[in-house]
């Protein structure tokens, strides 16, 4: 009797466990987890994805990580083969590692089967967010969020007669949106330490952050505008004379001068959040940040509306902006690849892309960008288009993290810690990068 009872219990337990497993598997197939950074566009995507949930019956879950920890957290997840994310909106620089290390699923066959054409997306975004090796028609992501580093400023201050007169007296020209990097510096220096409405204000808030990617993303905005290049010949890793060209040296010296003479005290480790804080608290006349934040800034009750305007990163020797933005990839370790592909298919539709833009996401779809009404659809829309025409990105190599940390180190040491010269910083950077590429077997 006792033995029979035990057997029955064991069989029951096994059956219940099997039932539980089946129901868990079923729940998993009806769920998708999308991973991204925690910022304004991510909230818009949550809203947008409700349409997908309604259409597909698949429940969307989201894992958003603050930017300073985003790369660390997500790359660790990918490197450990984790199944947290079915879909990942990963940074553009990760595409090389994602493709070569097998983290991302190659989407060519899927795109062909579903008639999703990369010609429907802005070429710069396809190149930057989707392809590996660069420019080859091997797609590992769908362009999801176009972005570049741009500028915004206190329009209300720029329009004040007393300030305009003082600027004219100081510089001999009208105060307006800077057309060159040097004009930007001049304006920043003009506002630096100035009293406005009884408060001391400063020129500009720029990226100087040490830990992740901040100072590189900020300084390259000036360096690209001067003509900085990573290689003399694309794909040859011949950096001597390109990375440390006279133009690159001059640009880096410029960025240091901007930091030393045109930024608020204590902004020595500042990135996106600090830039927004400085502007929203009325400390600075101008600030750099990613276009992704511009919808929120335009709607800000204190500094938005009529008080704010935007401009594209000023040219110097050439028009250029630092590329941000991301593509959406299917993680190869996902146990719901089909559902993830369904999401991408849904997201690629022109109507969904239009809604994405209207909700604060930066669509890369030509149906949105080429719409005649697009430039008037937001105060920063025209600047966004101008920026995306001339974007430059960091290395997208699998060893991008080593390359990035080396640049963070060299730039921060020169610009913020005030050690060495710009020439030494860039010469040292070539030595660092050469070592990385030698380790990679590419040199």
């Amino acid at each position: 009797m006792k033995a029979r009872y035990l057997t029955a219990t064991a069989v029951g337990a096994v059956l219940s466990a099997a039932g539980l497993t089946a129901s868990t598997a079923s729940a998993q197939s009806n769920e998708l987890t999308l991973c991204w950074a925690a910022w304004d566009p991510a909230n818009a995507l949550v809203e947008l994805s409700k349409d997908f949930e309604a259409q597909s019956g698949i429940k969307m879950k989201f894992e958003f990580v603050p930017w300073p920890n985003f790369a660390d957290r997500m790359l660790n997840e990918l490197n450990s083969g984790g199944q947290l994310c079915d879909l990942l909106i990963g940074d553009s620089q990760w595409i090389g590692g994602g493709a070569e290390n097998g983290h991302y699923i190659k989407l060519n066959d899927f795109f062909a089967a579903e008639s999703i054409s990369m010609d429907d997306f802005a070429p710069a975004t396809v190149y930057a967010y989707s392809t590996w090796p660069k420019g080859e028609p091997n797609y590992y992501a769908l362009p999801a969020m176009g972005d570049a580093n741009g500028w915004f400023y206190r329009k209300d201050w720029f329009e004040r007669e007393d300030i305009r007169a003082a600027f004219m007296e100081a510089t001999g020209r009208e105060l307006g949106e800077p057309q060159t990097q040097k004009e930007l510096l001049e304006i920043a220096q003009f506002f630096q330490g100035r009293e406005i409405d009884g408060q001391t204000v400063y020129g500009a808030s720029i990226f100087t952050e040490r830990g992740s990617e901040g100072i590189t993303m900020g300084a390259t905005g000036a360096m690209y505008a001067w003509g900085f290049k990573y290689e003399n010949t694309p794909g040859a890793y011949d950096m001597e004379g390109a990375v440390n060209s006279p133009e690159a040296v001059e640009a880096l010296e410029f960025y240091k001068e901007l930091y030393k003479t045109g930024t608020p005290p204590g902004y020595d480790n500042a990135y996106m959040e600090q830039s927004l804080d400085a502007f929203k608290s009325g400390q600075v006349a101008m600030a750099m940040n990613w276009f992704a934040f511009f919808p929120g800034l335009a709607a800000d009750p204190n500094v938005g509306g009529d008080k704010i305007d935007f401009f594209v990163n000023p040219a110097q020797n050439q028009p250029a902006s630092t590329l941000g933005g991301q593509g959406i990839s299917v993680v190869s370790y996902s146990d719901n690849v089909e559902g993830a592909l369904d999401y991408i298919k849904w997201f690629a539709q022109p109507d969904v892309q239009k809604k994405w833009w209207s909700m604060g996401g930066y669509s890369c779809h030509v149906a949105v960008l080429n719409d005649p009404d697009f430039v008037n659809s937001a105060p920063f829309a025209a600047d966004f288009l101008a920026a995306m025409d001339n974007v430059y990105d960091f290395w997208q190599e699998p060893a991008y993290a080593s390359l990035l940390l080396a640049m963070q180190d060299r730039l921060h040491t020169y610009v913020v810690a005030d050690q060495g010269t710009a020439q030494e910083a860039l010469d040292g950077l070539i030595a660092d990068w050469t070592e990385v590429f030698e380790d990679e077997g590419k040199l």
Partner: protein, 315 residues
């Protein structure tokens, strides 16, 4: 015949268990009890250590599972030991270690000596002094980031009050030369109470009759301090130094929150650099060699120190 707990346990052991255990020697039973601990020790400490040593001779990268792993011999060690950047980080770590320990010992011992006297509010004051060490390093890091803020920070304001140097004219965390000291100040603020508590325990362990005897011998207070107080507190103090030394050698969280290793590399401690090599650059083989070098350094220094500590205790 005495009825010891062991006798009672032996009587309470069920006969079938007793039958199985009977026949095992004392040594075997001892091994039976120790085995789980040894297994855990091997699995959690020894095996990873051996594995790390093995990896340190390869070019293994944990984020490249498909890449062929090459045996590189001593190349990782040679690169680390000839890297000026790593030597600079070791110097930064040594600077941090020496100054934090020196300041904490001096201030901690002084506070303990003062607080050891009986006065009203002694207990309350002790509680207030030990508050910083009860906080999380993450909280302390964020908290001091605000205190050091040039425009709104209390620290800069106090400096301006006493020196006349404008508060917004200097940045403790961002200026070359100051950042090293800013992390020392925070660590000293947080951990001096710990040293104080250990010293206090040492001071309170000295019997009053020794001082009474010294008084009878008409020894001055100064002489009593150097010939009674200091030698008797020294073992406690050395223990505190050992704890703080080991803790600060692996200091990570607080400094990352305060400076991120910057400006430049000015506060880049060896532990922060190691983390970057291992989990940001994913140079697993290289960082294994780095970790082994740090381990040998700490282990070597700690062994020498513990021997010295034992000699002091034996005196």
């Amino acid at each position: 015949m005495t009825d010891t707990p062991i006798d009672r346990m032996a009587r309470a052991t069920p006969p079938h268990v007793a039958r199985r255990v009977r026949g095992l020697s004392d040594r075997a039973i001892a091994w039976l009890f120790v085995a789980p601990t040894i297994f855990l020790l091997l699995a959690i400490n020894i095996f990873p250590l051996i594995w790390t040593v093995r990896l340190s001779f390869t070019n293994f990268a944990a984020n490249r599972p498909g890449r062929e792993v090459e045996w590189v011999g001593l190349r990782n060690y040679q690169r680390i030991l000839t890297d000026d950047g790593i030597w600079a980080n070791m110097q930064t770590t040594a600077h941090f270690l020496i100054w934090t320990i020196t300041l904490q010992v001096l201030i901690g011992f002084t506070l303990a000596w003062l607080i050891n006297r009986k006065f009203r509010g002694n207990d309350l004051l002790t509680t207030l002094i030990v508050l910083p060490m009860m906080l999380s390093p993450a909280v302390v890091g964020n908290f001091w980031t605000f205190l050091y803020q040039p425009q709104i920070g209390l620290f800069n304001y106090v400096v301006e009050l006493f020196t006349g140097v404008p508060a917004s004219s200097f940045s403790m965390l961002g200026a070359g030369g100051l950042a090293k000291w800013s992390i020392i100040i925070v660590d000293t603020w947080m951990w001096t109470p710990f040293v104080m508590l250990i010293c206090l325990a040492g001071l309170r362990s000295i019997p009053d009759y020794i001082y009474e005897a010294a008084d009878v011998d008409r020894a001055s207070k100064w002489r009593q301090f150097w010939t009674i107080t200091v030698p008797m507190v020294l073992p406690f103090l050395m223990l505190a130094v050992l704890f703080r030394g080991i803790e600060n050698f692996k200091m990570f969280d607080m400094v990352v929150l305060l400076t991120g290793g910057g400006p430049g590399n000015e506060t880049l401690l060896a532990s922060i650099d190691l983390k970057r090599e291992a989990f940001e650059k994913w140079r697993t083989g290289y960082s294994s060699a780095y970790a082994i070098i740090l381990f040998v350094t700490v282990f070597g220094l700690a062994s020498i120190y513990v021997k010295a500590l034992n000699k002091v205790k034996e005196r």
